[in-house]
């Protein structure tokens, strides 16, 4: 049986102070197994990015529980959260978020600056090779195309050999060809056993995942394994 990596129960999140409170998540519960490839879908403002930030240890929930590998994340200090972000997860953002005027190599190396790992340069080279960018290693990041920038971001996300990769609209700023390449890389990483959580509002992108969690108005609207979803839609069509 697959190991439960993430267990979320009745997660609620609100922003603001006493006077102006914005409730974003209204009680979300689900589990993610190790090695799963999951897409979180939903329209803008549905709370999908907020959910990713919380399960990605970038933000804290307001109420509810979050167990990571059986450990209560709500009890983690800021430093512990920073350590987990460094060792357990990798992030890929829609805007790439690369350091400008910095080489591909140094961008990919960034997480390793805060890590105790040995052979850092070797790990950087391996990560760059995994996204087929060896020929761009010493390029300044500003000079790359959008697709290449996102591949650098993926290399940076995997350089620390994390368990989970969080990707927030990773193809949102790319043309379809570059987007396809990015999704192929995610597929390959999934095949290697990485857990992948993809936030997107594009159905085509979500379809690459094995499971799609739909969020609407801060609640889970559906949680479907793609195979089952495909069968269900075929049944609808037959009717």
């Amino acid at each position: 049986m697959a190991n439960k990596l993430i267990e979320i129960t009745d997660l609620r999140k609100q922003f603001g102070s006493d006077e102006v409170i914005t409730k974003v998540l209204h009680g979300v519960s689900f589990t993610v197994n190790e090695g799963e490839y999951m897409a979180i879908m939903g329209p803008s403002g549905s709370g999908k990015s907020t959910l990713m930030h919380i399960i990605g240890f970038l933000d804290r929930l307001t109420t509810g529980s979050y167990l990571y590998n059986g450990l209560d994340v709500t009890k983690f200090s800021d430093n512990k959260l920073a350590s987990i972000r460094n060792s357990e997860v990798g992030f890929v953002f829609q805007q790439f978020n690369l350091l400008s005027n910095t080489t591909v190599f140094d961008n990919v190396k960034l997480p390793l600056l805060y890590s105790e790992k040995k052979n850092k340069d070797e790990l950087v080279k391996q990560a760059i090779a995994a996204v087929d960018l060896e020929h761009r290693t010493n390029y300044i990041s500003n000079k790359l195309s959008g697709g290449e920038k996102q591949r650098v971001a993926i290399a940076r996300a995997i350089v620390n050999q994390p368990k989970i990769i969080f990707a927030d609209e990773p193809t949102g700023n790319l043309d379809s060809k570059a987007g396809t390449k990015i999704m192929e890389i995610f597929e390959a990483l999934h095949q290697e056993g990485k857990t992948i959580m993809l936030v997107t509002h594009e159905q085509d992108t979500a379809n690459h995942a094995g499971r799609i969690l739909s969020i609407r108005d801060g609640l889970i609207a559906s949680d479907i394994m793609v195979e089952k979803r495909r069968l269900a839609s075929e049944a609808v069509l037959q009717k």
Binding site: L58, D59, A82, S83, R85, N86, Y114
Partner: protein, 411 residues
């Protein structure tokens, strides 16, 4: 994260915006250079004054007309004319205090020196015949005037080496007649070169008998000041006490508080000078330190701008695992590195300027020592780093407090 990596990061950030970094540093460079230069020039000037005073010999006692407190200068030094000290006071002191081996009074004035068709503005100094013994000075040629010539108010003159050179060039001035004001003076000697002092160069002065100067040129009977030379290993306190007693008796003074004169040994005079120049140095260094402070505010300003400019970068660093303490150190080290590099450049610049001043002063004939003390370097670089730390701390904390999610969204 090792400190070396943090330094590398800070260095990389600074080199990315070289001009911005340099302009930020400029405040620190000017401030530190100012502190180093002022302390160096102050020390140079102090040593020049001290050497000048000490070169006259350490066994001298000075008498100034007018009272003073223990640490301040007498009134006569401040430009106030006091006429209470006269020639007979000195004679009485020499007779009453056996340890005094020589004594001379001094007066001085400005006059036009004329020789043939040459003219020059000079300072003439009237001294007693014992001047040579009191100040340990040497003549390069000729002789100094005698007591008989002084008492007889003879018109004889001894030239400072520079005056002799300026007026007579390679000619022998002995026996020549010059005019001071309207009186003709016969030159009987020339001093060996003595070097400049901070206030005036004795090489540029003309020395004439005291009473000639008083009666014929100035029309006065008092002294501007007097010096006593005492024997080696003399008891200064006792001699000063005896001198004061003689003067009080002659001036009808009953209590020390009513003294109309100041008697000081060379050491005491040096202490007063040291207090004065020290206070002046401190004042000037404080002004330079304000420049450092302004430089510090500039650093804080630019670091705050950097935090805003680099919000997304800070968010990214936090997202990939940088702890708050690391972010604080990164920004703090940038500020410290800015001030440290600025401080080093400032020290070099300040030392260069101080060197330039020393070269110019030496060229002008002063025996100016070039002193850049380790203390001034340590103080200015220490203050620079402290400024960096102090003004870098707030921006660094501000950066560390940024919410990574908000920071990542920042464009």
């Amino acid at each position: 994260m090792p400190l070396s990596e943090l330094f590398k990061l800070a260095y990389q950030s600074l080199t990315k915006n070289r001009w911005q970094a340099f302009l930020t540093m400029l405040g620190i460079i000017i401030g530190v250079a100012g502190v180093v230069m002022i302390l160096s020039v102050g020390a140079g000037a102090q040593s020049l004054i001290f050497n000048q005073v000490e070169s006259m010999g350490s066994n001298l006692i000075g008498i100034m007309p007018g009272a003073s407190d223990d640490n301040g200068p007498p009134a006569s030094v401040m430009g106030i004319t006091v006429t209470t000290l006269v020639n007979d006071d000195l004679k009485a002191i020499v007779e009453a205090v056996p340890e005094v081996v020589a004594a001379t009074g001094y007066v001085q004035g400005l006059a036009t020196l004329q020789w043939e068709n040459q003219q020059s503005e000079v300072t003439y100094v009237g001294t007693a015949a014992s001047y040579l013994d009191v100040e340990d000075v040497l003549l390069s040629t000729g002789r100094y005037f005698t007591e008989i010539e002084d008492d007889g108010m003879n018109n004889v003159a001894v030239l400072g080496s520079q005056v002799a050179q300026d007026i007579f060039g390679s000619q022998n001035p002995i026996g020549q007649k010059i005019k001071l004001k309207r009186d003709a003076f016969k030159i009987i000697g020339v001093f060996a070169e003595r070097g400049g002092s901070f206030f005036s160069s004795q090489d540029e002065q003309v020395f004439i008998p005291l009473q000639t100067a008083q009666k014929k040129l100035l029309g006065i009977s008092h002294l501007s000041m007097a010096r006593l030379k005492v024997g080696d290993n003399a008891d200064f306190d006792s001699i000063i006490g005896q001198t004061e007693a003689v003067l009080r008796y002659r001036h009808d003074i009953n209590t020390a508080g009513e003294d109309d004169f100041t008697v000081r040994s060379q050491t005491q005079a040096l202490d007063v000078l040291s207090t004065l120049t020290g206070a002046l140095n401190f004042f000037l260094a404080a002004i330079a330190a304000i420049a450092l402070l302004v430089g510090g505010v500039g650093i804080m300003n630019i670091m705050l701008v950097a935090v805003t400019e680099r919000t997304a970068e800070i968010g990214l660093r936090k997202a990939v695992g940088a702890k708050k303490s690391i972010i604080i150190w990164q920004f703090l080290l940038e500020a410290i590195l800015l001030t440290l590099i600025g401080g080093i450049l400032g020290i070099i610049l300040g030392a260069l300027f101080a060197g330039l001043i020393a070269i110019i002063a030496n060229y002008m004939g002063y025996h100016w020592e070039y002193i850049v003390s380790l203390l001034s370097i340590l103080i200015s670089s220490g203050v620079a780093i402290a400024v960096g730390l102090f003004f870098g701390l707030y921006p660094a904390f501000k950066a560390a407090q940024l919410d990574p999610v908000e920071a990542l969204r920042y464009e």
